[in-house]
Symmetry: D2
Subunit: 337 residues, 4 copies
């Protein structure tokens, strides 16, 4: 049977999907491992992640604190590091095997990019550190030590890495990183081609260029997002997102923010794109943090078509009608205003 | 670096995971596509799935009604077929590509099992129909037609196949099938070796034999489950499960059951194994149906170790202490008492 | 012990509450009974309340349909009546006894207002019909027939008037009426003095006049609300509100609205005043309808002080920062633009 | 119009409610103020209420710690006092005014009971201390000091007494006390006649005697409950209950209990009687604590009839079918086994 072309938009889909390979094989990059945040006020930032977000400290080393969400099977989900300016440091992606890691290193090198092997994180083996075309630091690794919870954090069930904390929101995992990039299309093409990510949704503006694109390595609908940086800067962060168990967790998080002075930028509401229920707050260092909940939505279809949103569609606001807040287009870290 | 042996239980894990390939590559079987239920009272069974569960009818054909959950991108999630006895008919698994399908057919044939190609379902291409060693019908396919919602069910957002219904619980997807089997170990070995499933949790009884085992093809923590049939029968169903968006949906479902006369067998409560929040009801034909919610729990680790529960651990009951109800061990379909 | 003056704002409270009687005795008006909506499109409006809100029809009579929420112990919670213009008709308040009813009639007459006895509603005895100073029709009654659910709506538990419906949101009760009024202070003084309502919160603008005031007859924090009508019109409706069981019901309601074309004006979000979680939609006749959830918040203190919000405080927006939408200040029914 | 007799069971209600006064006027006892728990391990008990339940400490005095839920407008909701045996100490009921307090003192004395005036609690004026016929200590008071939150617990909104805590479950209020009593009918008749409580539901066993009865002073459906003590002891406690904002809070509470070693006796599930969603745990001193959520259910009807459950109805278990756990009938404090 001949391949049938796949229209870009789901709403016009009516087709018999055939042999067309529409995605790279799952699994060379298994999932987002952890991310590093820079902050000029590391004590306050760490306190925010412990008291408000409900992470716990795995270990500390010099200017860096290694924090973990309760359902992370690895040593750390987040590294908070002192620096003059807030912003995003390393994003580490765990590969499925050493072979998968080597394949991805080769694929990145084939694009002309360079990198280097380091071994500089606790409980993690070799990392190959490189950059995306916009200058964000990316690291690929496979070797990792499974987390063994200390006695006071021992879980009640053996299929869980650590006790769910009674303090703060108690986010389950680091969910995704949303970068700002000067050229979204070029940068995401790199992520797709060299790292094997799959784009699931994107915004194409009226002049044809891509304003934002969502990529996944998993059956979550996105792991790495790139949004256009209107300032023309490079290497900046839009936000880091953590997944909660429920939407009620996010409503409770909004109440806790209100009562503890955490700045709420926008939400809770539901995104039209990807349909995620969200709340955006700022951590004390100035980085934007999202608490997100996708309900049980997954992308299981091996040939799920890329959904493209137009400028007119985006003008309708979020899913239930909330208009996008102005600062969403202007605030990134480091700040460049 | 040398491979470090992986202990079977997560609680005793403290290791550096290395090059050890611990799973087959993801993706030959992409996901559970749909399942077929037999019922002696098809009108009542279909009404149950429409009015209570919130499915809609995609099409009808003779003794079969093709029903769909609102977030299914394919034509149908469930086939309800008239037959003298309730029970499970075909379980259909969608493969990632035609090549993947052919590889799996070859792998099944390599075990000595036989099958045949058919083309007997609406909006689906070639299916290769076979059986697991316990006699449950399995079908593998790749070609499928993406669902195009009729105008009255058009979704509000273009990244969603169909409107969420206002009627009933409104389950999002067919989540998993839980079979009864005379010999769980042999049957699941077939599913693991020939179909490429990955076991995530299991019960090993004191005499060493496997009492139940959970397999996944995805990053959901299970898709196909086999539980020992204490009657020694073969080919029977324990339950068919549908995922809700929230735990609150399940609490609401319990209230709706109470007020509309749907029989609740047990729940709502939380499973210790896999941690799923659950409610078990019987549909009018006698098949057990689970409404389940995993929160945002996923198995993203490419080397997540198989978790084994002992007889003593199982005796503790469910996660929050609920004792397993007696009928859970005795009721299956077809009935053999 | 001498009475200690009660500061108006809770945040400055630090006092020993003594013998000061700060409220009329609870109970002459027991609770909000039901309300009447006018609509130019009664079929569509009734369908909205059945299909989307989850009410059921108790009876019909000429141009009026009597609808009920599932937890109402009386015959009807809402009367939908055909009229050229949308708007609010009668608001009926149930008194605790015949003596209480007579006391309230006398108190209203003592203000110079007039009324008349009618017996024009199904399952309800004598109603005394009058108007508030802004011209909204109010009715007082005591005699009422307890609802006996028909067999198909019989509840599963005997302490519940009717089965919870599987269709739509399934709101529990009519929660409150929010009127627009030309002169909020005068109108609410009437409701407080003549009907025995208790004000719980209010907005006092910088020039000293009252912009809105919330009154209760119960331990719910409000039952009747008056907001200033910027058009200077009289007798208009801002919105009618129905209480859901959970905040999740409201999030589900937002999704159902999105998928079925119900217009969402604003929300879901949390009010700063009264802290209610809310969603505002328009029914097809043009009236604004709120779905609201107060969690388990009650005003149990017999001397709970009136909380006053300033213009500056209101400028901060809703509880989590949402700015009040422009149409919230301009849209009322009947329309006067 | 002549009074129409009110059948005892709601399901047989079909009547025109007329002038019949069916309840004492609301308001002499305004609401449950606070309760006192005895514990042999006060440090552990206080830690349980802080870390797990989410209360905060208002003050300490000798062997007593005064704790408060975040939405309590008074100084304390719970007093934890060291004693050799666990059990219930004083239950304090706030009266609506000094006159109401004096009326109730007179009414209690008219039954032949005695009491004495004390002034022994922080931020509370005169208390009149007496006992119910089963020997539980009851206190009536009116004067109370409104809570002024310290800066670190200042709420985000001025209509809230204190910030909602980020630690533990964060229960909103002390909801009810459930006593054990040798003779339920005699004891509750006292509470109804002398204190002005209203019974809303009861269990009448086949031999005609009352097995349990639920009383309210408010529009919550119950505040004080008495259950028959099968041991024939007197003055014992079945449980103390705290209300959460949501059912999700209770599911989260169950997970926190599982991970922190708090003993879960039964639940989460929904009571048939009063329909409350519940979770029962034991605090370290041995007292049973309920976390409860009534959704938005209230008893607003001034003539809501007493609902009586039979022995056969009780045998059906809880609302969704959970059988009542054996220890529910045997465990009380102090222990008498």
């Amino acid at each position: 049977m001949a391949a049938i072309p796949v229209p870009e938009n789901l709403t016009s889909l009516r087709r018999m999907v055939a042999d067309t390979p529409t995605r790279p094989p799952l699994g060379d990059v298994a999932h987002l491992g952890h991310a590093q945040l820079f902050t000029p006020v590391p004590e306050e930032t760490v306190a925010f992640f412990i008291d408000y977000m409900g992470l716990t400290v795995a270990s500390r080393n010099g200017d860096s604190t290694y924090l973990r969400t309760w359902d992370d099977y690895e040593h750390h989900s987040l590294v908070v590091t002192r620096r003059d300016q807030p912003g995003i440091g390393r994003t580490a992606l765990r590969c499925s095997s050493r072979e998968a890691l080597d394949r991805r290193v080769a694929a990145v090198q084939a694009t002309g990019a360079t990198g280097q092997w380091v071994r500089d994180e606790p409980s993690i083996g070799d990392l190959w550190v490189t950059q995306d075309p916009d200058g964000h630091e990316l690291a690929l690794y496979h070797e990792t030590e499974y987390w063994q919870a200390p006695a006071e954090l021992a879980p009640g069930l053996k299929n869980q890495p650590q006790a769910k904390p009674g303090q703060g929101v108690g986010v389950r995992r680091l969910d995704h990183v949303n970068y700002l990039a000067k050229d979204v299309e070029t940068t995401t093409d790199f992520v797709i081609d060299a790292l094997g990510a799959r784009p699931t949704e994107q915004i194409r503006l009226d002049d044809g260029h891509i304003g934002a694109r969502w990529q996944t390595f998993t059956q979550k609908s996105y792991d790495l997002v790139y949004t256009e940086d209107w300032t023309g800067s490079q290497g900046r962060l839009h936000h880091l997102a953590f997944a909660t168990d429920t939407r009620e967790d996010i409503l409770r998080a909004a109440d806790l923010a209100l009562d503890t002075g955490v700045f709420i930028e926008t939400g809770p509401h539901k995104h039209a794109i990807q349909q995620t229920f969200f709340l955006y707050v700022y951590e004390p260092g100035g980085n934007r943090i999202e608490l997100c909940n996708p309900l049980t939505r997954l992308v299981l279809a091996p040939d799920w078509p890329l959904v493209t949103w137009t400028e007119a569609e985006r003008a309708k606001g979020q899913a239930w009608g909330l208009q996008t807040i102005e600062s969403f287009h202007t605030h990134g870290t480091p700040r460049v205003d």
